[in-house]
Amino acid sequence: MVTSRATRIFDAISTHVVLGLFALLFVFPVAYALMTSFKTRGEVLTTPPTFFPSQVTLEGYQTLFFGSNGFSRPNLIPYQLPNTFINSFFSSILTIVIAALAGYTFSRYKFRGSHALQLAILGLIMIPGLTNLVPLFRIASDLHVTSTHEFIIAVYTAGGLPFTIWIVKTFFDTIPQEIEEAALIDGCNPFQALRYVLIPLAMPGLAAAFLLMFVDTWNEFLAALVLLGNDRMKTATVGLYDFQSSFETAYHVWAAACIIIMVPVLVIFLLLRKTFFEAMLQGAIKG
């Protein structure tokens, strides 16, 4: 770019200042929750409020894990967090597998109605998620599958498929068709071509799609609220919501729960972030 040295230096500094400010602003609520989680019950209710804990304590975490100070142990750690993991993990895997099959077909086979079908599937994104909650609740009640992992995993999968099929299909489109045609000529069937040729090559895109799906399902609230009635089958977000009645102003316990719920998905994000950013920047989502 034809820019003077002075302009370049000014650009570099202003970029760092603006982005740095945004980053600081964006991290602030999380940092505040982290600090709050190390405060005592008394300190979270002081006026004016403090940012840093005046004395670091694990009281909040202790109450959250074992119950103390008159609070009984919530089901969050022993039941609801594992539930969240099971629901997110299996629905993400299932979604990726089904979306890979569909995305492969849309990317590689030209058949009548293919375009219309893709648009119809993508159009499902427009349905407000709330629309289906009451019908799904009734279906679940009729089939006696409320408060089961299986049903909510199926519901999450259906919810995630339209977007995931789109991403996976777009990613497959970027892989030249000649590559798996060679494998097909060598005699493998389409499933093998997908399994051994396309999927390894599309791994970054699939990992990005997995992360998108995992984050969404980990954080999902409304379907879990409606479809999971049994406290031991609830997910962590619903469990945290219930803190309103059980923990009221014990904000340090809330904060500890916020941090604990965040950590697993943060770890997965940090592990996959390079692949994720690369896949997204390659244009995993485009028109």
Binding site: M1, V2, P128, L130, G187, N189, R273
Partner: protein, 305 residues
């Protein structure tokens, strides 16, 4: 590429006989997706359409659905609360859309300057994206709590009143929280589009004397238009459909000031058990989404597949 294929190909099981691509294969590969989408998306939605023309009546054994035609819609459209909630949706989704697109584009342009060591900021800005609405809502509610809220107390000397309990203040809080949650993703979409703009084109435009704004308007924007279209479509739908943050920050308060149509749906259709009215609201929202999509396709996405 070639090596990857060779490696991949060499690990293949040896075929016993040559196979042909059969025409019915697409069907088998699409079947799982279609079955699950029909069973858990299409059927429930149609069921919801049907429910929107019914109302529940208590019977000896429990409750039953009674068909009432379009009564639910008529009642809704006459209801001041519902019309207010539509207006709140317009304010909430509209400001969310404008702010997210403006800031997302700005941040993407900054990241795209390829100044060194900015990758770290991207990771930090992504932090809110991985947090759930309930966790985020909890954090935001505290920050604006009247007496213990760290942000509210810091703002007191400037504005002097509680944001959380004023109608426009509460709306500002939920909009800000929603922008905070989704800005990173929008930035990433814009950044991915900006990276496809060839540097040579920008350079020649600069040589021709185009300033930054002109370069953006006549070179960059036309090239990122497809992404722009997708971003405003996804952001609008998200703004209209999502309730998680409102549910956990304000619960529609104060006095219904942050009660959007989606929240109204949740309240009547789920909490109050008035399935018919809730379903009618969802049909109305679905129609709004379709109309918006058609408008966007016509006016923004022209030329986009």
């Amino acid at each position: 590429m070639t090596t990857a294929v060779q490696v991949a190909a060499s690990s293949l099981p040896q075929p016993s006989r040559p196979r042909r691509r059969s025409n019915w294969l697409p069907l088998w590969f699409l079947l799982p997706a279609i079955v699950i989408l029909v069973a858990l998306q299409v059927v429930p939605t149609l069921y919801s359409f049907y429910l929107s023309t019914t109302t529940i009546k208590p019977t000896d054994t429990g409750v039953t659905d009674v068909e009432v035609g379009l009564d639910n819609y008529a009642t809704l459209l006459q209801s001041q609360t519902f019309r207010d909630s539509l207006w709140h949706t317009a304010v909430y989704a509209g400001s969310f859309l404008v702010i997210t697109v403006a800031l997302g584009l700005m941040l993407a342009l900054l990241f795209n300057r390829k100044v060194r060591y900015t990758g770290f900021y991207l990771v930090l800005i992504f932090l809110p994206w991985i947090i759930s609405d309930v966790v985020a809502g909890t954090m935001w509610r505290w920050m604006f709590q009247q007496t213990y809220g760290i942000v509210q107390v810091a703002l007191n000397p400037i504005i002097g009143s509680s944001l959380y309990t004023s109608a426009s203040g509460a709306m500002a809080i939920v909009v800000a929280a929603t922008v905070w949650r989704s800005l990173a993703f929008t930035t990433l979409l814009f950044l991915s589009a900006l990276q496809t703009v060839p540097t040579e084109v920008l350079e020649s435009a600069a040589i021709d004397g185009a300033n930054r704004f002109q370069r953006f308007r006549s070179v960059i924007f036309p090239l990122i238009r497809p992404t722009f279209f997708i971003v405003i479509l996804l952001t609008s739908i998200r703004g209209i459909n999502s309730v998680g943050l409102i549910y956990s920050i304000t619960k529609g308060n104060p006095g219904g000031a942050t009660q959007t149509a989606s929240f109204y749906l949740l309240r009547t259709g789920w909490e109050q058990g008035d399935f018919g009215t809730g379903a009618a609201v969802s049909v109305i929202l679905f129609l709004i989404n379709i109309v918006l999509t058609i408008l966007y396709v016509r006016y923004v996405g022209a030329g986009v597949e």
